[in-house]
């Protein structure tokens, strides 16, 4: 009896212990909204596109340091099966990495070896209409479910253990020019995505879907309909228009969404950057400021209602999409104001009160001549250049979609920039036809010799010193330059900063570089063989910190070997 009791006790203790282990594992595995909001507290994981809801692309991990970064060694390489510009940024959870790969595949990999657990394959509709290739920048996660937007404008939920689809929702009609290329933002019980198609005359929107069912919860159109607030910025055509003016301009006014937004749990607001107006270049056919194109919009995350907006480039004729990742920073410049920081494609750095939308500061970080300053409310004083004259920054912008970074340790904001770069614009009337290119003319490069071949970039860089070049520019919280790291070629690479004051970035030249985040000093570099078009990430498995970056068709993962 006594023996039996002891055995039973031992068994019972074992069961309790096992249950506790299982519960702990389950608790670890479950990604809750609270864990997403507290992502910086588990720096071993990388739980969303920009690493955290503030979208700083900063990690507190500090095992890799300025002193040992020279010992970084390649751990593994994973090659994408489909050729093309690969822009994914992974999610890493408990040693498993979840990535998107062209066209719309999802793969689960061992984050320490690159070996695949499963690959979910989705073939987007053949008649899809997407501007710029089979791009997908990543996933969202909640519970045990991954979420992916597709090139044919579907939203798909996938079981992260089995790799099987759970539900699929049609977000928009791809044959009308709609697509999804960015990583969804998961907040509370909702999955938030927006639509691309700014060159196809879409009417852009951001929408939230129930994470369990895929049912639409709310939708915010980035182009207001007549009578709605903001619709006054789509003015009537003057009675005697000299050129072509489109009375229905708002119906195909663009305002695409193609980068992931941010979220402030205290204010319950989600922030999104809105893309260019359509048609891109011919302003005469769409009089007015054309809200909410080229704006940041702050939406109530439960209802999708607009709380405030700020328009960076009213009545844009340069294709200055404002889709950049909104970076949320508290106690701006030592004050009590919490802001959204923004390096815009139009060449300016901004700080905006993220509770109210109040413009605090705007300052060029590259050469700018399309405007000459701001009025007290932050409206740019536009200075259009004459026919045939260069506009700075050029069509691809002073920066573009590539992720910036903010380090709470240095207090600096880091911008991947194109310096001294201009375009000459030639607007032309453009009639809207469903699903066809709708740009209203086009830009050309400043420095080319007329009638000679165009200038090329990596791997054979023929731009040289004659045209723009890339840089990482570190600015303080008012936009003052602190240091600059110049590159010969331009850069489309995002930036990662870490808790040991390292900054990782790439560029078109294919170098993956580690800089001192305080000084800009080059500490380490390696040549990966092709342009780096995404933002690096970092994570930890066991006791080892890893650094991930995509170059060309391959994902490279590094760690320090002492």
């Amino acid at each position: 009896m006594t023996v039996m009791t002891a055995t039973r006790r031992a068994l019972a203790a074992g069961v309790v212990s096992l249950l506790a282990t299982l519960l702990t594992t389950a608790a670890q595995a479950q990604i809750t909204p609270e864990r997403l909001a507290a992502a910086p507290n588990e720096p071993q994981n990388w739980l969303m596109y920009s690493g955290n809801y503030n979208s700083t692309r900063f990690s507190p991990l500090n095992q890799i340091t300025p002193a040992n970064v020279k010992n970084l060694k390649l751990q593994w390489v994973y090659q994408s099966p489909v050729a093309g510009n690969w822009q994914t940024s992974p999610i890493v959870l408990d040693g498993v990495m979840y990535i998107t790969q062209r066209q719309n595949d999802v793969a689960a990999l061992d984050a320490t070896t690159g070996r695949a657990f499963w690959i979910y394959r989705y073939t987007p509709a053949q008649d899809r209409i997407v501007c710029c290739g089979a791009n997908n920048r990543g996933l969202g996660i909640l519970g045990d479910t991954l979420f992916m937007g597709t090139l044919d404008a579907q939203l798909i939920a996938i079981d992260r253990i089995t790799g099987k689809a759970l539900w699929k929702t049609a977000v928009a009609k791809t044959t009308d020019g709609y697509s999804i290329t960015h990583a969804p933002l998961v907040v509370k019980d909702k999955v938030i995505v927006g639509v691309g198609g700014g060159e196809y005359g879409i009417r852009g929107f951001i929408a939230a879907y129930d994470a369990k069912t895929g049912k639409e919860a709310w939708r915010f159109y980035t182009i207001p309909a007549p009578g709605e607030p903001g619709s006054e910025s789509w003015q009537r055509c003057p009675p005697n228009s000299k050129g072509f003016c489109d009375p229905d301009a708002w119906k195909h006014g663009g305002g695409s969404i193609w980068m992931t937004g941010s979220y402030d749990p205290k204010l319950n607001l989600t922030y999104w950057g809105v893309g260019n107006v359509g048609p891109d270049y011919n302003g005469d056919q769409r009089p007015g400021d054309n809200l909410y194109t080229d704006s940041v919009v702050a939406l109530d995350v439960d209802t999708g209602k607009l709380k405030w907006h700020y328009q960076f480039t009213p009545h844009d004729v340069y294709d200055y999409d404002s889709v950049q990742v909104p970076v949320l920073v508290d106690n701006w410049d030592g004050s009590s104001i919490n802001v959204v920081m923004w390096a815009n494609r139009n060449g300016n750095f901004y700080a905006i009160d993220r509770a109210t939308g109040r413009f605090l500061v705007g300052k060029p970080f590259v050469k700018v001549n399309w405007m000459s300053g701001f009025d007290e409310r932050g409206r740019p004083k536009q200075t259009p250049q004459g026919d045939g004259l260069p506009t700075y920054p050029g069509n691809q912008g002073g920066t573009n979609w590539y992720s910036p970074s903010f380090s709470p340790r240095t207090g600096f904001f880091y911008i991947p920039a194109w310096e001294d770069y201009a375009s000459i614009y030639s607007p032309a009337p453009s009639e809207y036809k469903v699903g066809t290119n709708f740009t209203g003319g086009g830009p050309r490069n400043l420095s080319a010799v007329p009638g000679a071949p165009g200038l090329g970039r990596s791997p054979l860089n023929t731009w040289t010193e004659a045209a723009g070049h890339g840089a990482v520019i570190a600015v303080d919280q008012t936009g003052r330059e602190k240091w600059k790291f110049k590159m010969t070629d331009v850069t489309d690479a995002g930036i990662l900063t870490t808790g040991s004051d390292l900054l990782f970035t790439g560029g078109r030249e294919g170098y993956f570089q580690a800089l001192n985040a305080r000084t800009g000093e080059l500490l380490w570099k390696t040549q990966l063989g092709a342009a780096i078009n995404s933002g690096p990430t970092t994570f930890r498995v066991g006791n080892k910190q890893y650094i991930e970056v995509v170059s060309g068709l391959s994902m490279f993962v590094f760690a320090v070997e002492e």
């Binding site: 007329p450 009638g451 110049k486």
Partner: protein
């Protein structure tokens, strides 16, 4: 607009002048010869042989700017026009001609003769002492074997009389002095943040690390002489015609 290599490539390739720019006579003349061989059967010598289409008007329903016109010519029309595959030089020529068809005077703007042009290039022009065409000539200056598909007629013509104005930035003469005192002079083939690749004046390839270079001097003046006063107008037109015929393999 999202940025891609494809978009950039399209932007960079859009080198044909816009319709408000000057169209060089050499382009118009080249375009006239192309029109006579590729377009005249349907559109007629006066450009109005198809009902409702008058090319001499200079106005095109589907092409406000030159890039639209290029796109239309490359794509063809459901109304019956086939798609045309033209190289950069041909496209620049045909667009220039179409924009100027009404004013074009074949008596004053003449296309040159490629055979005579070859004789000038290999003879009194002395071009092959620096340039290479096919298997003959020096490698020091840019290779001209594909110049006829890469450059417009106007650009080639201007290169002959004002070489600096047409020099691509990558062809600027450079002189690198290494820290060990040795010098490499030539022109760049490629460059990145940390290195530069040079074809030197003796036809040798060098890849230099910038950390090993003490000084890198770059000139914006072309070392090529102008032929404005040393070749006649007729010689120049012949040379342009010969170079336009160099379309590569």
């Amino acid at each position: 607009m999202w940025t891609t290599l494809a978009v950039l490539a399209a932007t960079f390739m859009a080198q044909a002048p816009l319709h408000d720019a000057q169209y060089p006579d050499a382009d118009i003349a080249y375009g006239a010869t192309l029109y006579a061989s590729k377009c005249v059967n349907c559109h007629g010598t006066t450009g109005d042989a198809i009902g409702g289409v008058n090319l001499r008007s200079g106005k095109f329903r589907n092409a406000v700017i030159d890039r639209d016109l290029e796109r239309f010519i490359r794509a063809g029309s459901p109304a019956g026009m086939p798609a045309f595959t033209l190289d950069n030089a041909e496209m620049a020529g045909i667009v220039a001609y179409l924009r100027n068809m009404n004013a074009f005077d074949s008596a004053t703007v003449k296309a040159g003769d490629a055979t005579r042009g070859r004789a000038v290039v290999e003879g009194k022009g002395n071009c092959t002492s620096c340039h290479r065409i096919g298997a003959a000539g020096s490698r020091v200056a840019p290779n001209l074997s594909e110049i006829g598909s890469a450059r417009s007629a106007g650009s080639i013509q201007r290169s002959l009389v004002d070489p600096t104005s047409q020099m691509m930035p990558i062809n600027r003469p450079v002189r690198a002095v290494k820290k060990d005192g040795t010098t490499v002079a030539g022109r760049r083939l490629n460059e990145d943040t940390y290195s530069v690749q040079i074809l030197d004046d003796r036809g040798q390839l060098h890849s230099l690390l910038k950390s090993d270079i003490r000084e890198l001097a770059i000139s914006t003046t072309s070392p090529m002489p102008s032929y404005k006063s040393t070749l006649s107008e007729s010689d120049l037109a012949d040379v342009v015609a010969y170079l336009l015929s160099q379309k590569g393999q």
